[in-house]
């Protein structure tokens, strides 16, 4: 049996449309989900629209709400630590982050603010666009921020020089009817080669920008017939990217492949729009959260749906811990757990060890870059699981 502290450690935090923060604890024996809010005290204005880790150690969860409030949840104490109202521009908080311990927020009307004690640094990221959809922090250098929105193409900003963007993307050529191609950036991802940025749009495009080469996208193609809503990189392969659509399709794309337009793999099982995708840093799993109220975990390379949990509310965004030894812990056959406060647990009956061997073979075939880390993880379940 796991010790008490491990029992209460949550791997994944999800923000819902009703304003509830949900924590999910996936481990080898059971799955626990918990609502961290008093449900009755919430209303639509407290919808969680942005979520992020507060620090490297993942002890704090930052949440941005629809009514421009920032809430901080401490994962050690398992309680809301602070709540702070900000007022810049209008609209919900679209993205949130931290730079050297200082909170960074982006609002739908385009203002990106770094709330320094000495004086706030503000960037007007909208330009001539209608509204801002997303702001992402560069994971490799905290000061750099990418923004995109409706009719506001990709821009890179340096927080030390807020007046002018360091990179402004140029739109693609006019289409065959000589009409300007409309722009509506829905999500942005930084690839780990430090020069490429992948962008998805609600006009079905997936684009790759090489910042050092040119302003126009080096690669631009369409995926499916519907808007793309989310994008995420995998940490192992520098050119692999997950893209989710608004009807519930998720595809794994390889920008360096022979034909990047064809997804390497399509992920099935969604009934509604994919809202947010997070790839687990240490294991080959991808977590996704969708409008049909489910949290799903797929295996990256086999595409198998490993885990699916009903969350009751429409889900907006999620964060997952980087270092979790989930491979041996993702339950395959498990008893259903539903709980709010009492820790009622039912143990699952058998473990399947055969699966692990098959997974290894699939990995070797799929990804070019061999990561020796992932192979080392095949070991029997020990007591030192989460963190």
């Amino acid at each position: 049996m796991l010790s008490d502290s491990k029992l209460r450690d949550f791997n994944v935090f999800i923000g819902a449309e009703t304003g509830i923060l949900k924590g999910v604890n996936l481990n080898e024996q059971y799955v626990i989900t918990k609502n961290f809010h008093n449900v009755k005290a919430l209303d639509r204005e407290q919808e969680i629209t942005a979520i992020a880790w507060g620090d490297e150690e993942e002890t704090e969860v930052l949440m941005g709400l629809r009514n421009q409030t920032i809430k901080i949840f401490d994962t050690d104490v398992k309680a809301f630590v602070s709540s702070r109202k900000i007022s810049t521009g209008s609209g919900p908080i679209v993205s949130i982050g931290r730079v050297d311990g200082v909170t960074l927020t982006a609002v739908k009307s385009g203002q990106i603010t770094l709330w320094r004690q000495s004086g706030k640094v503000e960037i007007n990221a909208l330009g001539r666009g209608e509204f801002l959809s997303r702001m992402r922090q560069d994971p490799y250098s905290q000061n750099i921020v990418a923004t995109g929105g409706k009719e506001s193409d990709l821009r890179l900003w340096d927080l030390n020089r807020p007046a002018v963007p360091t990179f402004r993307a140029k739109n693609v050529k006019r289409d065959m009817l000589d009409i300007r191609v409309p722009v509506w950036v829905s999500d942005i991802a930084f690839l780990n080669d430090l020069r490429c940025i992948a962008v998805t749009t609600r006009h079905r495009h997936i684009r790759l920008y090489d910042i050092r080469q040119q302003r126009k996208p080096t690669l631009s193609f369409e995926y499916g017939n519907h808007a793309n809503t989310a994008i995420s990189t995998t940490n192992t392969c520098g050119s692999h990217v997950f893209v989710g659509t608004s009807i519930g399709r998720m595809g794994l794309f390889d920008f360096r492949g022979k034909n990047p337009k064809m997804p390497l793999r399509s992920f099935k099982g969604f009934a509604g729009a994919v809202r947010d995708i997070v790839v687990n840093a240490s294991e080959p799993y991808v977590f996704s959260v969708s409008l049909d109220r489910f949290l799903r975990a797929h295996h990256i390379y086999t595409g198998e749906l490993l885990y699916k949990e009903y969350m009751k509310s429409r889900l907006n965004c999620l964060v997952a811990r980087k270092k979790t030894d989930i491979r041996s812990t993702l339950p395959t056959t498990r008893q259903k757990i539903r709980h709010t406060d009492g820790w009622e647990i039912e143990e699952r009956e058998e473990e399947e060890e055969e699966e692990e061997e098959e997974e290894v073979e699939a990995e070797e075939e799929m990804c070019d870059i061999q990561e020796s880390e992932s192979l080392d993880r095949i070991r029997p379940v020990t007591n030192s699981l989460l963190r």
């Binding site: 449309e17 509830i20 608004s246 519930g248 409008l291 429409r314």
Partner: protein
Amino acid sequence: MKKSQDAGRDKRREKKRAEKLGIPLPDKGPKQVPHTLESLREKDVTMVEEDDEELYQEEATDAYASYFTKAYEPKVLLTCSDNPHKKTRSFILELCKMIPGSKPVWRKKTSVKSVVKQAAEHGYTDVLIVNEDRRVPNAMLVVHLPEGPTALFRISNPKICKEINRDYKDISFHRPEVILNNFKTRLGRFIARMLGALFHYDPEFKGRRVCTFHNQRDYIFFRHHRYAFKDTEKVRLHEVGPRFTLILQWLQEGAFEGDFEWKMKSEMRTSRRRFFL
């Protein structure tokens, strides 16, 4: 056929034999209830439970909350695709008679987005667009106006009053009661609220009119009756008005724009015993 004949014959033989010998018939245990597709339905995690705090909270704050608090009276705009044929025209007019507070408007090649926008400006709360194919209504788009959800239903087996030997003039102007049967999952519950919110919240029981949406195996059967209670137990039903079946195709958040909350895909039909509403 032959199997049941044999079974009947065996039963009768046994009974005769038992009577002859004066022995009681062997007790075969309690009568077995036959399995149906509904009883064998795949367990669905999203089935709504009774006291679910989260559910009630969500319903108190969603797009239809103001309907259930009687904050507004529904005003429905009914349209169809361009150049409708006779059956669709009759269908629309009968739907208008049936739904209180509704108005038919002929659509002349206006795009759906434009219809939605204009209806919102004129104070409508819902838009119903009936699509026609091969001279017969085949789909219905229900849009809730102030940025509300949109649902597309496929209409199958539409019957106007004349086809069931009724007169559309029999549909009185009393506001009907609405019955929503068998919507068990979360999605089903949301759709039920959506359909119920088309009708006025205050029924006139004097008129004894009922509109029923009965869900069975993801098919929503719509029937329109006038009822009369013979005594406390028995009811006489007289079917009036159009009759059709709806099948949900997709549900989108936003008035004909935005992300899809649910979309039917062929990969979701994993088994014959899996239903979504």
